[in-house]
């Protein structure tokens, strides 16, 4: 809709105080990077980047200068005379970014630009995108299903579900203070533990026979089947002053590389607890009895 490829049923789209709702895509001056790169296969890299400038009838010398600047920006100066099929997926996407930026758009749209790339290239390229965006200081709308990508790249995250905005906020606010259950579950890992005997005055509830104190959340609706929400990295082994402490039994130890995940059964409820891996890490084994703990401000009721 921002680019003008979808029809708007209601509402308006305003850009720089200008209503662009009814403008055709070629009159919006909005740069877009597609998931599938969408480079023109019959044009060289230089011609692809210069396409928008040529359409705008920019002077040939200026066009060439801008094309070279853009290629420098994405570190692909040597590939100016190649065709898209001669570049890797990551390189093609960088060229697509350079092409979108060459027209100096008022806003840059990136529609899942990294989803077609393999994991390693994706990690490299997202840092590259962030660097270019920061260098140019251009307002950017970045669509992604990758939560890590969203949190890493954004100043402001909009979490959407079924066409509705669930929450708008900084990456830290979205992760640490999710406004809805959907956001809490969608962004990052989350324990959702069924609880009983909820006391909203004392902010306590029970898991099996054990009592837990939680942080009050006055604006949040609590469902008929309340659950305690807590991130796995907040759960520690052992007790601590002022922390909720629960006795349980380790069900499994999952090695995930940089993280080791323990699955702990507390009176029938399964908690995930994440620990950073170390070479000499010593963790309980499956079947061991343990006490897990977490501060009351780290958990909330949904």
């Amino acid at each position: 809709m921002i680019a003008g490829f979808e029809t708007v049923n209601t509402g308006t789209i305003t850009l720089d105080s200008e209503d662009i709702t009814q403008k055709s895509p070629n009159q919006r001056n909005v740069g877009m990077v597609f998931q599938s790169y969408a480079l023109f296969p019959n044009l060289t890299i230089g011609q692809n980047i210069g396409f928008g400038l040529e359409v705008r009838k920019m002077d040939k010398a200026d066009t060439e200068k801008r094309v070279r600047e853009m290629l420098e920006l994405v570190h692909l100066e040597k590939h100016i005379d190649k065709y898209p099929y001669q570049l890797s997926g990551g390189q093609q996407q960088r060229i697509a970014l350079a092409r979108a930026l060459a027209i100096q758009p008022r806003v840059l749209l990136l529609d899942e630009p990294l989803s077609a790339l393999d994991a390693k290239i994706r990690v490299e390229l997202r840092l590259e995108i962030r660097r270019i965006q920061q260098t140019l200081g251009i307002t950017t709308v970045y669509v992604t299903h990758d939560q890590e990508e969203a949190l890493l790249l954004s100043d402001r995250v909009v979490v959407m579900s079924q066409g509705h905005i669930e929450q708008v906020g900084s990456p830290a606010a979205i992760y640490n203070y999710p406004a809805t259950e959907f956001v809490a579950q969608f962004v990052g890992q989350l324990n959702l533990i069924p609880v009983t005997e909820v006391d909203l005055k004392k902010n306590t509830c029970k898991i099996g026979g054990q009592t837990v104190k939680f942080e009050p959340s006055p604006n949040r609706q609590i469902s008929a089947e309340p659950r305690l929400a807590i991130r796995p990295e907040e759960v520690h082994i052992g007790t601590g002053e002022g922390r909720n402490a629960l006795r349980g039994r380790v069900e499994s130890v999952l090695f995930l590389g940089s993280v080791v995940r323990l699955r702990v059964n507390v009176d029938g409820a399964l908690f995930s607890a994440d620990f950073f891996n170390e070479r000499r890490i010593t963790l309980p084994r499956a079947g061991d009895e343990v006490i897990i703990s977490f501060p009351e401000h780290s958990c909330w009721l949904v």
Partner: protein, 303 residues
Amino acid sequence: MSNKPASNPLEKRDAPKARPAPLPWRNWIGVIPFFIFAFLFIVLPSVTLLVGAFKDNTGKVTLSNFTGLLDPSILNAYWVTIRISLVTAIGGGLLGFLMAYAVTVGKLPTAVRSALMTFSGVASNFAGVPLAFAFIATLGRTGLVTVLLKDILGINLYDQGFSLYSFWGLSFTYMYFQFPLMVLVITPALDGLRKEWNEAAANLGATNATYWRKVALPILTPSILGSMILLFGNAFGAYATAYSLTGGFINLITIVIGSQIKGDIYYNPGLGYALAVGMIIVMSVMMAFYYMLRRRSERWLRQ
């Protein structure tokens, strides 16, 4: 002491392959019928033609058949055949392209596309005597359409200079199988145009016309030209339709070959073979062009 090389103990430990690679000759079994067919109906006739083209009626080696190709009536026959092939390739190509465009990029309902593709599949193979008869019955001097136009609209096609049995009449008849062939050949190429290219062009400020001029048409050009060359070859080798419709009134090269081989007053199989060799050369050149353009198109579309 044995001089046998010691077997590598590691080799013995290798697990047997779950599915051994098939023997190479088995891979060729499926295409053997094709090779037999190609040998019997392409290689053998070509060799026979080539050998026969260098023999006279008594079986002696001669070059007179090839010098005979320079006869004005034969050169004219080649010229007429090339002209009619060009006209129908370009006309059928353009019409077929526009129709294929309408059902692919033009976003007509799927039912229209299915109907057009089915019709094209049938019509592109509907040639020869039945096609000639169908056109005589509709656009002949007393054909249904001719009479209807005359009775209802007062237009007499034949008074206006049209004749089904002329160059343009024959070209019109050829169009019936030429444009459907174009539809069949060019539709996949049009389907290959990615929506994102159009969107990216629009996003960069291009109008639809600019997109077609700078992106879509250059991408499609090899396919369009390749398809038109195919249409050219299709018309160039046509015989039965022209012969049934005009009875040899139009001097096409295929009709000339027929008259040289059939044994009427022009009987000279050697010349017929030389004419056919000339056709093979023209067609080979066309196919070479087609192949080159096709390769170029595929290179662009590789992702």
